[in-house]
Structure formats: structure tokens, C-alpha cells
Symmetry: C2
Subunit: 383 residues, 2 copies
Amino acid sequence: LNVSFEYYEREKPIPPEEYVRVNHLELKELVTDIYKALGVPDRDAEIVADVLVTADLFGISSHGVQRVRRYVEGIRIKNVNINAKVRVVRDFGTTALIDGDNGLGQPIGVKAMELAIEKAKIYGVSLVLVKNSNHFGIAGYYSLKAVEKGLIGITITNSENLVAYVNTVGRTLGTNPIAVAIPRPSPPPILFDAATSVVPVGKIEIYSKLGKKVPPGWVIDLEGNILSGDAKEVLKAIRSRKAALLPLGGLGEEFGGHKGSGLAFIIDTISGILSGAAWGYHVGHTIGTRPANVGHAFAAINIEAFMDKDVFFERIETYVKEIKSLKKHPKADRIWIPGEKAWLTMQTRLKIGIPLHKNVYNELIQIAREVGVTRELRIIKQQ
Amino acid sequence: LNVSFEYYEREKPIPPEEYVRVNHLELKELVTDIYKALGVPDRDAEIVADVLVTADLFGISSHGVQRVRRYVEGIRIKNVNINAKVRVVRDFGTTALIDGDNGLGQPIGVKAMELAIEKAKIYGVSLVLVKNSNHFGIAGYYSLKAVEKGLIGITITNSENLVAYVNTVGRTLGTNPIAVAIPRPSPPPILFDAATSVVPVGKIEIYSKLGKKVPPGWVIDLEGNILSGDAKEVLKAIRSRKAALLPLGGLGEEFGGHKGSGLAFIIDTISGILSGAAWGYHVGHTIGTRPANVGHAFAAINIEAFMDKDVFFERIETYVKEIKSLKKHPKADRIWIPGEKAWLTMQTRLKIGIPLHKNVYNELIQIAREVGVTRELRIIKQQ
């Protein structure tokens, strides 16, 4: 198969001298070894590493290996249970409720989506809720598990409070993302994966690194004033809990802030309230004094319950082609289908390696040594 | 039961001298009779009237009886089939595909949600897709049908192209709403019902009537320029197909335009592509030269598949109370739970009547006379 290849990275490593590139497999092995050294069962450690490295491959470094420390600390202080007995506690036809026993969110998430897939194959659609879980990384990872089996996957989760509920100040809602993955006859699959806040914190972190200014409309302080300008200052305010992200749609209702806020609330109600997990500002952090009790929900849809897969593929390809043929906005770089940016970034990084900020690289090596892992992480020579 | 009552209307009749108030039951009877006179079966006519009048009770006049003419014309020109044989064409455990046979969207929607409810009672969750349907009014109406039976209801639909896909100009997507209704121990239920565009066209119609200015960020022209200012001019551009609504999140990606656009695309893929209905700019209009072939999707979730209903009620009430106790933004009128505005408006209008613009009132009487309905529609004396 001889396909043309395009180098594309959603998040470019800027400035380049602050970054090194590493091979994704070697990175995954190092991260796996770190968690194994802490006593995490082999397969669980592999899953955590795969979710983290996939985020870096997708160009979502905020959810990538820079978070290795977070889970390591959660395990060290025993706020995360590495010997969790993940159990189905209620099973009702094509739904199930899983108790994660305060385990790592990633293996719990994979198990829950696998169950959702099995049920949807039989019944057409399924819904698996999870309580007593932890942060599980990028939601899209789990939805793509359904696509691997030919199904549509939907993943939602609540998360620690960072976002202001519409018409209020302070942090109440998580960034509560929704991720929907839809198969196509050939890659990339459609992957819509979006926080219900106007931006994720990771975007402000990137702006901070690049010395860019935060535009008015992303963040408010505790008095309800818009915070903008110097991204370093904005980030500091967020980290010291003196500011909140705005929901998708922004401040107030004029541009739909009640819609982003309402979506986050609905996602919280299904993944948090209905699962028996925490909700709103009760959702904890991995490195906290009590279990985070994050709640997730996983649904799968069996395409063949509705139409033959060939017909579906023909229809979705026509739609994609039609979108690609639209008139581009003069200020836009190009017309994207949801998931394409992540996919192209992954193809590029599988070839030329994953860029890690030197601080992140050094921290990884440091963590490895702390837990007794001696494996190297080679730096790829730049051509 | 002696509860305090608050007069509240989401959409106030302004200026008051241009409006009359009518009783909701008399309004519903008149509208029912109009459709019956056109040959619509009794129960279908009642459902169409109920959906329209409910929109007016909720304060969503854009989807209320001002649309009686639209369906009447669709029937008259035979672009809508009043003798539709609505059939389940695929049944797969807890999913079904319904062929609406180009019938009125409202009775098809009710039938589909009733099937989704029955299946969710047995299996825990369900998904019913519909093809060959027509515009069905407010999506929330169907989700509330599930709440009446104690379940969570989710409704999505595609609709005629009005919205620009992110990074493009022109109209590709419908306003493709999502409506989620969640039971509470006592009314109002939670009802999140939102178009995935930044605003619905109805909002611009209201701004036009009130002589208000459209803020920059709602609409773009075919060259991609933001259209704002005089709402009458903006509305004219939209109606002459020279402008498109922006998706939730606005222009480009800076404030999340790819999120609103992506949500609309996903909703279209499930309700349109997967159902076998039209999609994108192929979705037709009620008054058109070919069947609209609108697609819908209805899901229901059985709360008791996950937890006892009493526990769920206790948890959701706690969450609602916590939100109500947050610190209000200084510029906000109050803190709202999704669905409260519609509910309070309905309570008010059940008591003092539904305000109809005199043009809408006169048009209704005119339509009634055209089809041979002689029933009066009394104007309520203002106190």
C-alpha cells in the first residue's frame, strides 16, 4: 500500500530546542515499567501507559506522559488502589454498573467499554456506568475501542471541578468531556472528543509556554470578571483556585454558555449521579486526601442493528466528501473532520517520534530511577 | 397543596399592545381541528397540536403555533403524507428502526419514543432511530414523554441546513438539537434542550421584533464575514440564504466552534446517516418539492437498571440544591437549572393564557376559516 504521507503535528514542539523526540514504543515500555515497579499488575500498567502515550501521539500532551507523576503520586500516597477488585455490581439486560474499587481509571475504563461492546453486539445498544473510579485520561481512547470492533462508541465522564456553572462564579463542574467514535471503511475513524468547557486547561498551559495571550472569554475570576492576557498569570490564577474555566458558549447566555454548562451538568448526572459516583465539586483529585470517586459512562451502538455496514460506510463517506468539498472560510487552515488532526499527528509521530519537553523527559527518567527502573529512554537524533 | 406561585415568562410579549392572550386548551382544540379538517387522523392531529402549544407554553414561540401554517402547507401540497404507515422495519433487541413513511414528525416521534420507553423498561437502555420523517417541533417534548414514565429520555434530530460547518462558509448543518430530560421527585423535571448552533433562528426573529441588535458572533455571510447589527437585516440575509448561523462556540476554533460543529455532525451521523434518512444539506423542508426525509433518534434510560429510584432522587436533589446555593454572577438574573425557565413560563401561561402576536392570532383564524373550521378562539380579557 503506497499512500502519500503528510507530516502534520497538531501541537508543534516550540521552541524546538526545548524538546527531544522519543520512540513511542520505548516510551510506552518505560511508563509501563514505572507502574509495574509500583506494584500495578502487568496488564493494568500496560493500559495506563497506552492511554498516556496515545494522548501524546494524538497531540494532546496535557493528557500525555506529563501526567505519569500524577498517577505515581496517587499510588504512592495510597489514594489510588492498585489491587482494585473491579466488579459488575448490577447487570440489567444491556446495561451494567461497575464498581471500580478506587482503582486506576484506565483499566477500569477499558473493562467497562469491553462490556458495553459485548452487550451492544447482542442487543444493539448498551450503557455501562462506572463509580469509584479515577481520572482515566483521554475519553476518546475508550470510544475508539468500540470502533476497533466495528461499533460506534460513546464515552462521557465527570472530572474534578474546574468550570463555572452558567450565571455563577467559582468552580463547580468538571470539564466533563464527551467522546464519540464512528467507524469508517478505512482510517482515520471519526473521533469527536471535546471538553464541555470553552477550552481545556491544557490549552492555557500551551499558551503559557508559547508566551501567547489568553483571549477574553476563556476564564473568569471568583468575582466573575473575565481574566485574559498573560497566559502565565491566568494559569497561576487557575492553579491557585482563584479562577474558573468558562463553559463552552462562554460567559452568560448570549453566546450559549448555558448550553456548555447544561451539557456538563447532564454528563455529570448520567456518569456521576446515576452511577453512584461523586458529582460536581465533590469529585476528587488523584493526589488527594480521599478517593476521587470519578464516574464514567460508556455506550456502544451496533451499526448492523440499523443498517448493513456497507451501506453505512457508503453514506458516511459521501458525507465526509461533501464536507471536504465545502467552501473553506478564508481565515481557516483547512476543513477538518473530527479526529483527523489527532490521526495525522499520530501518523507523523509514529514515524519521527513523540516530542517531549526536556522537563518532562527529565522528570520521567527521575521517576523511573526513584522506583528502581533502569531502562533507558533514547533520544532520537534529529535529521 | 399550597405552593407559592411566581409569574415568569421567558419570552415576554413586547410590545404588549401587539399581543393577545388565549387559553391553552382552546388553542389546542383549534389547532387540532385545523389538522383534522385537512384529513389528519384524530390522534395525530391532537399530537401535532399538543407539541405546538407546548412550545408556546414553554416560551419557545418560534416552535409554537406560528408554525401551524408550515405543516398545513406541507400537507396541502402533499409534501407530507397524512396517511403514513409508520412501521418498525428493523428490530434488534433493544433497538429499532422506524420508517416514518413521510408522515408528520410529531406522531412519528411520539410512537418512536414510546417504543424506546418500552424497550428501556425491559433492557435498561434503548435506541430507536427514525427515517423518512418530517420536522417534529421541540425535541424536548419527546424526552419528557420518557420522564412521564419515570425514565431518562434523550432525543436528537437533524434538520434543514442553516448552520456553517466549522472553517467553512455557507449552510451545511441543521441546528441539530439534543434534548435530555431527567426525572425529579417533583416538578419541574430537568430538561436540557439546546440547538447545537450558537442561537436558534427564533432568537434572531425575536431580536428583530424588539428592534435589538444582533451581537457579532451569531451569523456569517457567504464570504465568512460576521454579520451583526440590525436584526431585521440579519434575518433577511438568513431568509434569502445569504447567511448561515454559526455553530455553538462561534467562528473558527478559538472559542470552540469545532465543538458545536462537531456535535451537530455527530447528531447528524446517528439520526441521519445511521437511520437511512437524509443528512447535511440534503435534509428538506416541510414546504418543499421533495420529502424532507428528516432523521431522529430516541433513547431512554431506565434509572432502576442502575440504582433505586429513591436514591437517585435524593442525589439529584442534593446536586440541584448545591447549584442553587452557588455564588451568583453579579450580572446574571438568577441561577437556573435546565428546564426551569420553560416550566415557570408554562405554569404562568396555564394561569394567564398564552400570548399570541396579533398577526399569529389572525393567521390562525384565517387558516381555520380556509379549511372550514368555524371554532372561535376567545381572547382573554387582561386584568
